[in-house]
């Protein structure tokens, strides 16, 4: 589904991503791990079309999307959430989700229709809100939500696009440990509801990573160090020691 082939990204002399090749198929939940500066966010930005790769290309469902820009990719069925919470501070939860539905349905340009009269959009928004437990906060301005709910809204609005693949940049960062699992559970259930085929996340919390992923990709200094199932990664000494900071599991 999503193929990154030999992607490089340099900022001047600084090499952020040095030759990453990654294939994501339908039905996979992939976690990208690695220390800070390993190039994870840069990779995500390249994969989501925000950045043009210096070399290499990215294909999505057969199309070359290198540097296509987030707008085009959203239309193709790719969505993302942001590491630093991205909200529309002055818009209520309801309005945010309505906006996402509108774009999905191609109704964003309607100048003279009344927003309130569009039942389909409103019901969509309410449905997504309830999937994420935000149904009681529909009238609250996004900027005033508690931090955890802001993150949920960020993800929820991305989900409202009914994407086929979604990239989450640290979905549980800045959230208390008790909330983390709640968020991940909500995510997994919602993605089944919505029909999202693949999830890619960047995550630091290893419990979350090992608890939810089908596959783990370990990034180190811009390169893929290892790419495999949690069980395989657990046995990988280099990855466990350098990145995850635990002792590798010895084969029996």
């Amino acid at each position: 589904m999503l193929h990154a082939v030999d992607v490089h990204k340099n900022y001047g002399d600084y090499v952020a991503v040095a030759g990453v090749t990654l294939f994501i198929d339908e039905g996979e939940f992939v976690s990208i791990v690695g220390p800070n500066g390993a190039g994870k966010t840069t990779l995500i930005n390249v994969l989501t079309g925000l950045l043009q790769p210096t070399a290499g290309h990215v294909h999505y469902k057969g199309h070359d999307i290198s540097g296509a820009g987030p707008v085009k990719l959203a239309q193709l069925g790719m969505a993302r959430s942001f590491q630093l919470v991205a909200v529309f501070a002055e818009l209520t939860v309801m309005e945010v989700l309505q906006a996402a539905s509108l774009t999905r349905l191609g109704r964003g340009m309607r100048l003279f229709h009344s927003l309130g009269s569009d039942r389909e959009v409103r019901e969509n928004a309410e449905h997504i809100a309830s999937l994420f437990g935000l149904q009681d906060q529909l009238g609250v301005k996004s900027g005033q939500l508690p931090q955890g709910n802001k993150k949920l809204l960020d993800v929820a609005s991305a989900f409202a696009l009914y994407p086929e693949i979604i990239l989450l940049d640290e979905p549980t960062s800045g959230v208390s440990t008790s909330d983390k699992h709640r968020i991940m559970e909500t995510l997994v259930v919602a993605s089944k509801e919505i029909g999202i085929k693949s999830i890619i996340q960047v995550e630091h919390d290893m419990d979350i990573v090992f608890g939810y992923s089908d596959r783990i990709v370990a990034l180190y200094e811009g390169r893929v160090l290892a790419d495999g199932s949690p069980q395989e990664i657990e046995c990988n000494e280099e990855v466990m020691r350098n990145i995850i900071g635990r002792e590798p599991v010895r084969n029996a």
Binding site: T103, Q144, S157, A158
Partner: protein
């Protein structure tokens, strides 16, 4: 901090009044009351003040357009007076050189002129935000001003062009009646009501909501598939149309167009009015236009140094009451309602 083309921080830091403001029915009642009052004014006011209402109507319309850009899309234009000038001079040329006598085609064609100018300017300008957008629009405004000033053979330079009174609705002309304080006043009031209604629909539409997304977080908006430049461009076009109509009203009511209509300080005053009334409210700009004109008239008659007073007022608003008069009103209302 912002770069020329992207914003890395979120929305405006002004806290919009939260929770429910004044109730919807009450708002509607107030608006209707306002329209009725405006309709009755010619009966009570002296001729001097009725004439003063002309710029009020013009600026209200212009500011409705400006605030679509500023309050709803987050773009501060320091060149809105460009479109007022385009509208005004289009009307002047059409009447002088085109022999046009009727108001309705005058408005439509001047509007078209504003759109024609807005397309290239907008295509360029909406790629920039923040101060770069402000400076670019300022540059375009001044470009037009210098064209108006220097190309004497076409525009008569600083002398300006005289504008006759066009025929309203196909049959109302200046014979036998006081055109300005009579039919033209109501014509402008009608224009304001119509254009305000249209803007209200626009703002409450899906388009309006998407604009606000673009305003609050353009990066996130793009990730949702919102074509940020496209939306800004259309907002810019609409604001230009409103500016153009305002220009026609000014041209007719003053009877004269001159280059200073597009000088950068005129644009600055427009932004001032918007802020004075309150950019976070739909009616703020209208309130701002009225307050500005009234204040300017009163202060000017008392003291020639009205700019000093106005500068001080603007400073106070920016520092202490960025939500303007409507913001203060809403806050005060909430305290009363407690």
């Amino acid at each position: 901090m912002s770069t020329p083309t992207e914003r890395t921080t979120g929305s405006t830091e002004v806290k919009h009044p939260d929770g429910k403001g004044i109730g919807l029915w009450l708002k509607l009642a107030l608006v209707l009351l306002g329209i009725v009052l405006l309709a009755l004014l010619p009966q009570v006011l002296s001729r001097y003040y009725i004439i003063l209402m002309m710029p009020f109507f013009a600026y209200s319309i212009a500011l409705l357009g400006l605030n679509l850009l500023f309050g709803y899309t987050g773009l501060i234009s320091f060149g809105h007076a460009l479109f007022i000038g385009v509208g005004a001079y289009s009307a002047a040329f059409l009447m002088r050189d085109g022999g046009l006598e009727y108001m309705e085609p005058l408005i439509l064609l001047s509007l078209l002129g504003a759109v024609i100018v807005a397309v290239p300017v907008g295509l360029l300008a909406v790629r920039y935000i923040g101060i770069y957008f402000g400076l670019l629009t300022l540059a375009f405004g001044m470009l037009f001003y210098s064209f108006l000033l220097k190309f004497y053979s076409i525009t008569s330079g600083d002398q300006g062009i005289r504008v006759e009174k066009p025929i309203l609705l196909g049959f109302i002309d200046t014979t036998g009646i006081d055109y300005l304080t009579g039919p033209f006043y109501y014509y402008c009031l009608g224009l304001l009501v119509v254009m305000a209604l249209v803007m209200w629909r626009i703002v409450k539409s899906p388009f309006g909501l998407t604009l606000r997304c673009v305003r609050d977080n353009s990066v996130k908006a793009e990730s949702l598939g919102i074509g940020v430049y496209r939306y800004r461009f259309y907002a810019f076009l609409i604001s230009a149309i409103y500016g153009g109509v305002a220009g026609v009203i000014l041209a007719v009511s003053v009877g004269q167009v001159d280059p200073t209509m597009s000088y950068w300080t005129s644009s600055g005053n427009l932004v001032f009015m918007t802020l004075l009334g309150g950019f976070t409210s739909f009616f703020g700009p209208i309130v701002g236009a009225g307050a500005f004109i009234l204040l300017q008239d009163q202060v000017m008659s008392l003291w020639e140094y009205w700019r000093l007073v106005f500068g001080a007022i603007l400073a106070l608003i920016v520092i202490f009451a960025p939500s303007g008069l409507m913001g203060l009103l809403t806050m005060g209302w909430k305290k009363v309602v407690r």
